[in-house]
C-alpha cells in the first residue's frame, strides 16, 4: 500500500476535526446567561474558529503546495529501524500513562521509583550506580519537598 503524506496534511486534518468538534461542543461547555454581545463564549469561539480556519488552510497547503513523502507499507516496514524507533517513543509514552494510574494508589516514592527503574531499563543501563543515583534523587526530592518545603507529596 502506498501513502503520500506530509506533516501539514496530518496535522491539518487532525486540527480541522478537533476545531469542528470543539465548535459544536461550545454551547454545551459554556452555558452563559450573559445577554451582551461579548460573553464568556467570545474568546473561546475566536480561538476555536481560528483553529478550524487555519487548520483547513494548513491542510490545503499540505495537499497543494508542499512536497509529499511517499510511504510504501509492506510487512518489511514493520521490521524497519524507523518503525522500531517510533515504537520506543510509544513505549515511553505508555510508561508515563501507567505512572498516572499508579501515583495515587502507590504514592510518589514507590511509583516514581518504579518509573525511574523502567526508564533505566528502557535505556539499557547496566551499571548499578546508574540506577542508584536517580533512585537516591527520588528520596532526596521527597525529603526536600516533604520536610523542607512542607509539601506532602502523594
Amino acid at each position: 500500500m502506498k501513502i503520500k503524506y506530509n506533516s501539514e496534511i496530518i496535522s491539518g486534518a487532525i486540527f480541522t476535526i478537533v476545531g469542528a468538534a470543539l465548535w459544536l461542543l461550545t454551547p454545551s461547555q459554556i452555558r452563559t446567561k450573559e445577554t451582551t454581545a461579548i460573553t464568556a463564549q467570545t474568546l473561546p469561539r475566536i480561538a476555536i474558529g481560528g483553529l478550524f480556519v487555519f487548520a483547513v488552510c494548513l491542510l490545503l497547503e499540505g495537499i497543494f503546495a508542499r512536497e509529499k513523502k511517499e510511504l510504501v507499507v509492506t510487512r518489511e516496514s514493520f521490521r524497519s529501524e524507523g518503525f522500531k524507533k517510533e515504537l520506543r517513543s510509544l513505549l515511553y509514552a505508555l510508561f508515563l500513562i501507567v505512572y498516572c494510574f499508579l501515583v495515587k494508589p502507590l504514592g510518589f516514592l514507590i511509583a516514581t521509583a518504579l518509573l525511574v527503574v523502567a526508564i533505566m531499563v528502557f535505556y539499557g543501563a547496566r551499571k548499578w550506580y546508574y540506577y542508584a543515583i536517580p533512585l537516591a534523587m527520588v528520596g532526596i526530592v521527597y525529603v526536600i519537598f516533604h520536610e523542607m518545603l512542607h509539601v506532602s507529596l502523594p
Partner: protein, 503 residues
C-alpha cells in the same frame, strides 16, 4: 537628597549584606527547580523575616525574587525547561546553545545580561519611579489589550517556515487559557464535568508539560551507546564569551533592559511578556535574524536582560501607587505591610530613608547575584556531562514533584504528563511550542481587557484605534508582522535562487 543619604546610611549595616547572599542562594535554587517559582520562595521565607528590621527583611525577599528570576534561566538553558515563566523566552536560544556544546557560554551570558538588566532596573526604580508610574497610569483596558496583541505578534517570528502552524499553536494556547471559570461572569468553560478544572490550567504546569516532558519524550529515541558524547571537564568551561560577542550583545541587552523596565512598570504584565517582546524586537532589527532560535547568544542576552529588567520595575507601581504588578510584588507588598510600611504615594514622605535603602539595596543585590552566579556557573555547566539516561529520570522526578507542589494535587501530574505526550506529537509534526505558550500567557490578559474595553466603548471596536497608546501598539504589531513577512519571503526567495544556482 537628604532621604537618599539617609537611605545610604540605613543600608550600610553588615546585617543587610549578610542576608542578601542568603536570599539569592534560596532564590536561585528555587528558581532553578521547574515548578517552584520565586513566589513560593517568597512565601516560605516571609516567616523568617519576622524578627528582622524592615530593610533587612525586604532586601532578603528582593534577593529571593531577583535570584529566582535569574535561576530559572539555568534549567531553561541546560534542560530546555524554564524554571519560572519569566524565563520562557530564554529557551529559544539557550537550549540550542547547550546542544551545540556552548552551555557554559550561555549560562555566563544569562548571568551577565540578568545582572545588567537588574542594575538598569534598580537605577530606574531609584530615579524614574514617579514619572514612569504617571505614564503607566494612562493604561486602560484598550491599552492592555493592544499590548497583548503586540505580544502575540511575536508568533510571526517564531513560527519558522509555517505561519499556519504558528497560528494554530496560538489558537490552541488561547483555547487552553480559556479553560476554567471565566473571571468576569463566573461561567465554567470547557471543564468537561471536571470540577478540578474550574481553576484553569496553571501556567507553570503548562510550561512543564509543554517543554520539559516533551523534551524528555523527544529523547526517547536516544541510544546511550551511540548518542552519548563524552566531553572533558576542561572543554566545557573553555568556551568562554569572546570580546566580540560581548560587543554584539550590548545592544540587545540595552533594548532588553529598557523594554523590561517599561513592561515591568506596567501592572499585570511581568518579566515573561517583557522577554518575548524584547526578543522579537531584537530579532527583527538584527542583521542576521535567521540565526535566532538556533543558538544565538544575542537571544539569550536580550531575554535575560528583559526579564531581570522587569524585576525592579515591577516595584515602581507598587511603591508609588500601591498597585502590585504581579504575583511576586503582591507578596512583597504583603511583606512591606507586615513590617509596618504601606506602599503608596505617602510611603516616600513617611519612610523615605528605608525606601531609599531598599532601592539602593536592589543595586547591591544585583552585584552580589553576579558574584554568586559566577562562582556557580562552572558547576551548573557540568550538568551537561551527566549521561542522559541518568539525567532524564532525575528531571522527570523534579517535574513531577514540582507540578504537584503548585496546587498540592495529583491532577496536575496527570496534566503535565498528558500535555507532554501531546506536545511531543506536535513537535514531531514540526510545530513550534512557543506560539502555544504565548497564547496561554497572553490569553487571560487579552480577554479580560478586550471585554472591559468593549463595555467602556459600548461595543465599538474603535476604542482600540482612537486611544493613542493603544493605536501605537497595534500599529507596531502590524508593522512588525508585515516587516517580518517581507524579510522571510525575501530569505525564501534567496534560498530558492541559491538552490537553483547549485542545481
Amino acid at each position: 537628597m537628604e532621604q537618599f543619604l539617609g537611605g545610604l546610611q540605613v543600608l550600610a549595616q553588615w546585617q543587610n549584606f549578610a542576608v542578601i547572599p542568603l536570599g539569592l542562594a534560596i532564590g536561585i535554587v528555587v528558581g532553578a527547580i521547574p515548578g517552584l517559582t520565586s513566589d513560593l520562595g517568597l512565601i516560605l521565607c516571609i516567616p523568617l523575616t519576622y524578627g528582622m528590621d524592615p530593610t533587612m527583611a525586604i532586601l532578603m525577599l528582593l534577593a529571593i525574587y531577583c535570584g529566582g528570576t535569574y535561576g530559572g534561566s539555568i534549567t531553561a538553558i541546560l534542560i530546555n525547561t524554564p524554571g519560572t515563566s519569566a524565563n520562557a523566552a530564554t529557551l529559544f536560544d539557550g537550549y540550542p546553545m547547550t546542544v551545540k556544546g556552548q552551555a557554559f557560554k550561555a549560562l555566563q551570558m544569562a548571568l551577565f545580561a540578568s545582572t545588567i538588566g537588574g542594575l538598569i532596573s534598580a537605577v530606574s526604580l531609584l530615579f524614574l519611579a514617579p514619572p514612569i508610574a504617571k505614564i503607566t497610569l494612562l493604561f486602560g483596558p484598550a491599552e492592555y489589550f493592544a499590548l497583548s496583541v503586540f505580544g502575540l505578534s511575536v508568533i510571526a517570528g517564531v513560527s519558522n517556515n509555517s505561519i499556519f502552524k504558528g497560528l494554530i499553536g496560538a489558537c490552541v494556547g488561547l483555547f487552553m487559557a480559556s479553560i476554567g471559570q471565566d473571571s468576569i461572569s463566573g461561567t465554567a468553560r470547557f471543564i468537561f464535568g471536571q470540577r478540578r478544572l474550574m481553576a484553569g490550567i496553571d501556567l507553570i504546569i503548562a510550561l512543564i508539560g509543554l517543554f520539559a516532558i516533551s523534551e524528555i519524550m523527544m529523547k526517547s529515541q536516544y541510544n546511550p551507546k551511540t548518542d552519548h558524547k563524552t566531553v572533558s571537564a576542561s572543554a566545557i568551561t573553555k568556551d568562554k564569551i569572546t570580546k566580540d560577542e560581548y560587543r554584539r550583545c550590548w545592544k540587545p541587552i540595552g533594548i532588553g533592559s529598557l523594554i523590561g523596565v517599561i513592561i515591568g512598570a506596567t501592572p499585570g504584565t511581568g518579566g515573561g511578556l517583557a522577554a518575548f517582546i524584547a526578543y522579537n524586537q531584537v530579532k527583527q532589527s538584527s542583521k542576521h535574524p535567521e540565526t535566532f532560535g538556533k543558538g544565538e547568544i544575542e537571544g539569550v542576552a536580550v531575554s535575560e536582560s528583559a526579564n531581570n529588567g522587569a524585576c525592579g520595575a515591577t516595584m515602581i507601581p507598587m511603591l508609588t501607587l500601591g498597585v502590585p504588578g504581579d504575583g511576586s510584588t503582591a507578596i512583597l507588598m504583603g511583606a512591606f505591610m507586615l513590617h509596618g510600611m504601606v506602599p503608596g504615594p505617602s510611603l516616600f514622605a513617611e519612610q523615605g530613608n528605608i525606601l531609599y535603602a531598599i532601592m539602593l539595596g536592589l543595586i547591591v543585590v544585583n552585584v552580589f547575584m553576579y558574584i554568586i552566579g559566577s562562582v556557580f556557573t562552572r558547576f551548573y555547566a557540568h550538568i551537561t556531562r551527566i549521561p542522559y539516561e541518568i539525567l532524564a529520570p532525575i528531571v522527570l522526578t523534579f517535574c513531577i514533584a514540582g507540578s504537584y507542589s503548585t496546587n498540592n494535587r495529583v491532577y496536575d501530574i496527570y496534566i503535565i504528563l498528558i500535555f507532554g505526550i501531546i506536545s511531543y506529537f506536535l513537535r514531531r509534526m514540526d510545530f513550534q511550542l512557543v506560539p502555544i505558550l504565548l497564547g496561554i500567557v497572553l490569553g487571560p490578559l487579552m480577554e479580560k481587557n478586550f471585554r472591559r474595553a468593549m463595555v467602556i466603548s459600548q461595543g465599538s471596536p474603535s476604542i482600540f484605534f482612537t486611544r493613542p497608546i493603544s493605536c501605537a501598539f497595534i500599529l507596531i504589531a502590524v508593522v512588525s508582522v508585515v516587516v517580518f513577512g517581507i524579510r522571510s519571503a525575501r530569505a525564501r526567495k534567496r534560498a530558492q535562487e541559491n538552490e537553483a544556482k547549485q542545481a
